[in-house]
């Protein structure tokens, strides 16, 4: 018997759990990796990677025919590496600055991806709208696995694997990431070479971006990467706590967002991001570290205008 279907009340609980878990695992991985992107002022690079992995994912999909495959990760990884190489190639050897190099690189790769989708969309079951809008809803169409009497769509497993392993990797590499983000010279002196750490971080980003793609669509991936960390940054003073709060943000925005989507009938990805934005606004107003309301209330001095 399917436990979840039996508990449907206002909205189908089954869907809430499935979509919620899918988004949560995705957001969890993104939140941990993304917090370091925020700390290193690399949000733009994160945005670029999230767009640049599209051609790799599409190519992999065209080859294996399903979204539920590790080949997508490999395709994404290669695409992400290609993007990084292109950026370096453009920026280092010519007078083009880094921000423009990033723009040129990710738009070209994204355009290739969209073009591939457009050309092959009819011959393969791939909806171009999925790219923009995400497709958590499509989870329903996948074969199920069963755990402890509850059914889950199979892709959920890969979401869980990606999310959890990304979190574990970040935890293990915490010290290296911390020191090289805070003080690259000290890190270099300890043997944590900045170039290597950067590459690893890019790889991790590409890794978590793949699930995020499927959950919220290409454009909103960046929200999953930086909203949790940014929100937590307004609430805490120490990095371990920030990482923890980012994970909490991932949970709340996923559950809240999915609930919103199911009750109001809006796109799941958008709802999750809006929920995340709502949490961010709350933190902006009431956050213990930087909260506006708190500052006005206690008449604490604000930061310098810059």
């Amino acid at each position: 018997m399917d436990l979840l279907a039996a508990t449907d009340i206002i909205i189908p609980t089954k869907l809430l759990v499935w979509f919620g878990l899918a988004c949560f695992f995705t957001a969890l991985g993104c939140s941990q990796v993304g917090t370091f992107l925020v700390m290193r002022k690399m949000s733009l690079v994160g945005d670029a990677i999230s767009h640049s992995v599209l051609p790799g994912i599409v190519l992999a999909f065209l080859v294996v025919g399903t979204l539920d495959s590790p080949w997508l990760l490999i395709g994404a990884g290669l695409s992400g590496v290609l993007a990084t190489l292109l950026i370096e190639l453009i920026h280092y050897r010519s007078r083009i600055k880094q921000d423009a190099a990033i723009g040129i690189s990710f738009t070209s790769l994204f355009a290739i991806g969209v073009l591939l989708i457009g050309i092959y969309a009819k011959s393969v079951d791939l909806d171009p709208d999925c790219v923009i809008f995400g497709q958590v809803e499509y989870l329903q169409g996948y074969p199920r696995v069963e755990w402890w009497g509850v059914e889950f769509p199979r892709p959920l497993v890969s979401f869980a694997v990606v999310g959890v392993s990304a979190t574990v990797v970040v935890a293990v590499l915490y010290r290296i990431l911390l020191v090289s983000s805070f003080d690259p010279s000290l890190a270099a002196s300890y043997g944590y070479f900045p170039a290597v750490v950067q590459l690893v971080l890019m790889g991790l980003t590409s890794f978590v971006v793949v699930s995020a793609f499927q959950a919220v669509g290409a454009i909103l991936v960046i929200a999953l990467l930086i909203l949790p960390g940014a929100t937590a940054y307004l609430c805490a003073n120490r990095l371990p706590m920030i990482l923890l709060l980012a994970g909490v943000h991932a949970l709340l925005s996923s559950v809240g967002g999915v609930w919103l989507a199911l009750s109001l009938g809006i796109n799941t990805g958008a709802a999750v991001v809006l929920a995340g934005g709502g949490l961010f606004t709350l933190a902006w107003l009431f956050g213990p570290v930087d909260g506006v309301v708190l500052r006005v209330w206690l008449r604490r001095p604000g930061r310098d205008c810059s």
């Binding site: 723009g103 909103l220 958008a270």
Partner: protein, 444 residues
Amino acid sequence: MSGILAAGSTGLSGLTLALIASLALGVASGLLGTFVVLRRESLFGDMLSHAVFPGVVAGFFLSGWLAREGWVENAKNPLVILFCALVAGVLGAVVVTVLGRTTRLKQDARLGIVLSVFFAGGIALFGFGQPAGVQGFLYGQTAAIDATDLRLMLGAAAIVGVAVLLFRRPLLVVSFDEGYAHNLGYPVTWLTLMFSVLLTMSVVVAMQAVGVVLVSAMLITPAATAHLMTDRFPRMMALSVLFTILASVGGTLLSGSVSDFAAGPVIALCATALFVAAYVFAPRYGLAARFWHDRGQRQRIQRENVLKDIYRVLEREGFPAEGATVGTFEAERRLDREGAERELKMLEDAGALIRRNGGERLVLSEEGWRQAARVVRNHRLWELYLTNEAAYQADHVHDDAEIVEHLLGEEAIQRLEAELGFPKTDPHGSPIPQPSAPPIHTTS
């Protein structure tokens, strides 16, 4: 999405409409892209393109409602849409600034947050009615542009074009050096605000052509291409406009023949293709140009080195009138006969060398003497300078001088000589030649 020949209500063919749209696109995003690239604000442009999306959706809803109420004719009123888009864009920029003033978050994070949350809002809003035509802003639609869209694009482009032309000098100063702009009494805040408004307008135009994500391709890539081609700002603007138009026209035509899918990605890739072409072939900054320059320079250096060695050989032998032997030259250059002959031919062709006695003897021509003496003089002066003034280690001096001697110009030489007090010999005791003096020949 219909094919390329969707007819508009004006009676113009779809192709003509697409071409006119390209023109509008070129003017709007080409002009402003120049500023964006020079100000290094590519991410800001990206943020605007995503932030205006909810405005566009709202504009569609509003316009549709106004049409139903009888206030306007068209359910897709370009003015209403543009207005709502502008409001959204400016709102986005304001939020970024406010976050900057009230939190410790850095600019990149602030832009990313506004970008994604606003866009999510747009998508959510879109879900409530899915007004027709919004898709055009998401994916771009040069192929299916109708008269209304065109009016919007042309209008926005016209405003942008006129404004940039009128205010190009203040805008340039503000972009390059805000402090100086204050100094000149420019109203910096207003100018920055105007820039944001103009940028939002070009973003709206570009969105219609290539869709939300690829706006950056239109804003940045052609301007970056222009940046590789010229050093002068007006030329950069003009080239940027040209490349945008080329990319847009090329992309539209190409995509019509490839598939029904929106032309956006093809246009973006055309822009990238132009960039790659410039990256390789641009006159001064391209890869090919720099390769040729380096090669030319390497050849010049090699020629001068050969001359210098001949001079040294001649000097060692006391400048005999009959010249040096090929054998000594081979030994000095550490080459075999074949290699030596190649180098000697190079000098002969350059008119610096005269071969006598059936090719066995080497004598420098007037020109050759002058060049050789110059190089040797540079080298020796430089060695002297390094030893005396820069406390060089003896074993390092020679290597550096080898390179620098080819780069010293007359002015630098005169300064060196003056600094060193017009010396006659170098650190090793060899005399410092005067190129203006005639060739020395001792009679044997």
